[in-house]
Symmetry: C2
């Protein structure tokens, strides 16, 4: 199994070209490959047990081929499991194992986990957070290659990948503008985190691009859960000249906005359009009508981090230039269309 | 940090007796310790870096002190992350590291992951499933100690822990009976899995105990998601002498039942009581009113599996008798009360 599998076999199994397989498995910068294709290639490589030759030859004897994914809460909360899926599948397709450790956000526990990592000689650490945060990489990791995953740092020594919060916010509001809305409320989050600031910039950019003046009253700041979304939506929908559409900071707030709309006798999407953020399927698929929302690129970020780490570790790897010039990238957040957006009744 | 920490320090930090700490960390059979206490003790042990002496002395030199948690989907889906939390915190408190691997349910990938485990010399494998399933342990694991986690096997060689689905179903229906309901519908799951059968038995037991005859029409079988729950609830609520309360197979189906109730103008809990299962907080806390539901003992099962494995590995450990007589246990599922149950209007 896997011993004589070539890149051609993977390409054939995935129904794509050899070049595409190479782009996906090496995560070539600038290559345009859709998420679906990327997943198909990764899955085919995993199924066939394909390990690229360079890695198989060059690394197997020198490395433990264990990466650690050291995170706060990713494995234990329902928010960002696809980060792990992307990392695990990408690593596995190349013969690597991901050792997953969660600190629960406790610095003491994190410190003991780092001791374990050092003791067990992992080759590198993916330092990951459950949601996009600014972090300081612990000093004790300074002897190991580190890639930041869904996190960024003021100090630019480490490659990092975070979601494009601005672009995601813009995509959400553009969907509403395109449907014909001009009065677009924003139920946003009280927490001082990059997502809050980025999505606000995206909201304002989309309005500006559409020639819609920014109305401060249309932005309500609340807790980022269903209760907060309910209160924010009620406040917005009680305005005399109320918004015809709401952009909600996340799907949990959108769940509360649905409740507010029901309570006021407003039908979604006929009387009120709603767009969320996060694409948490338990909510977005469970609500009626299905919630149009913006997906975080969790799977893709996990895969990018693994490929970048393998690049750091292998001088022969095409991505090895990243060792000298760490890349900080933002990754696109795509709109996922369901049924909560329609033209405004009054348009 | 952690070097001179005694069991007394942990007891003091957790505000419990030394005996309680010992029960929790050794997972003594028959000891009654609440979930809250258990978590407090585990957290205190983790915070203080407490490692029981026997383990620290006996095992550190002989073992890699790595356990693998080999699962299908736990880390990557929003259902059962607390299994990982319980395993990780329990292991960490005793100086062990949990290496987490997901197969995505793909036997080929699982096989390659087992190769990695064998290569990296883990001491034991927690073979875990995202939801309670019957499994066959792969032959290639036969050289390692295995504990089944949220899974059971026809072959009784391995210790296993699964939720008490029957008891959980009974607790859900008892809550409705206690509130005064006699006409209790059951929106259940079409899948042929232990949870489906167990919860049905629990439903029937609770009715029998209350002297309520079983009404086959009150059981509707559907897909286990919000759409399925919606359809099942509509069917039940359209009956001439409709149920005054619904037990839903899971919280996702309960989410659909809420939608059906809203659509028919029935208020929860005034006109209809609802109980779910799983305690998926995104849903149970996000719904209005908050959903009364039954919690799966994910955290506790994860902790039990780790303690049982450490017992298997260490002859000096108090739990070492388990090596000779593997234990198959079921763990209690407790009712979590929120606001979706009230007395029937017609009672």
């Amino acid at each position: 199994m896997g011993r004589n599998v070539s890149i051609r076999d993977v390409a054939s199994a995935a129904g794509v070209s050899v070049t595409t397989v190479s782009h996906v498995l090496n995560n070539t910068t600038g290559a345009r490959v859709s998420e679906a294709t990327r997943e198909r290639v990764t899955a085919a490589a995993a199924r066939l047990g394909y390990a690229p030759n360079k890695l198989a030859q060059g690394l197997r004897l020198q490395r433990t081929q264990i990466l650690a994914l050291l995170s706060d809460h990713i494995a234990t909360t329902p928010h960002a499991g696809r980060i792990i899926l992307g990392a695990q599948e990408t690593a596995s397709a190349q013969g690597w194992v991901v050792l997953l450790l969660n600190s629960g956000g406790d610095p003491d526990l994190e410190d003991r986990e780092i001791s374990a990592l050092l003791q067990h000689q992992v080759d590198g650490v993916l330092y990951a957070t459950m949601y996009h945060r600014k972090v300081s990489v612990p000093d004790r990791l300074s002897g190991l290659p580190v890639v930041l995953l869904d996190a960024s740092s003021a100090d630019a020594r480490h490659p990092s990948v975070v979601p494009d919060e601005v672009g995601g916010g813009r995509a959400a509001v553009q969907a509403l503008v395109t449907a014909g809305h001009r009065r677009i409320g924003f139920a946003t989050n009280v927490d001082d985190i990059p997502a809050t600031h980025g999505r606000m910039v995206g909201y304002q950019q989309a309005l500006t691009e559409a020639g819609i003046p920014f109305t401060p009253e249309f932005v309500v700041v609340e807790q980022s859960d269903a209760q907060g979304g309910y209160r924010a939506a009620l406040q917005l929908l009680h305005m005399p000249n109320r918004p015809t559409a709401l952009f909600c900071f996340n799907d949990r707030m959108a769940m509360g906005a649905y409740r507010a709309a029901h309570q006021l006798g407003l039908r979604i999407p006929e009387d009120l359009s709603v767009v969320g953020f996060d694409n948490q399927e338990l909510i977005a698929d469970g609500l009626f009508p299905g919630l149009t929302t913006v997906a975080l690129p969790h799977y893709e970020m996990g895969g990018w981090a693994v490929n970048t780490m393998i690049g750091l570790l292998d001088e022969a790897h095409p991505a090895s230039h990243r060792r000298r010039r760490p890349t900080q990238i933002t990754m696109e957040c795509n709109l996922i269309q369901r049924d909560s957006v329609a033209a405004p009744a009054t348009a």
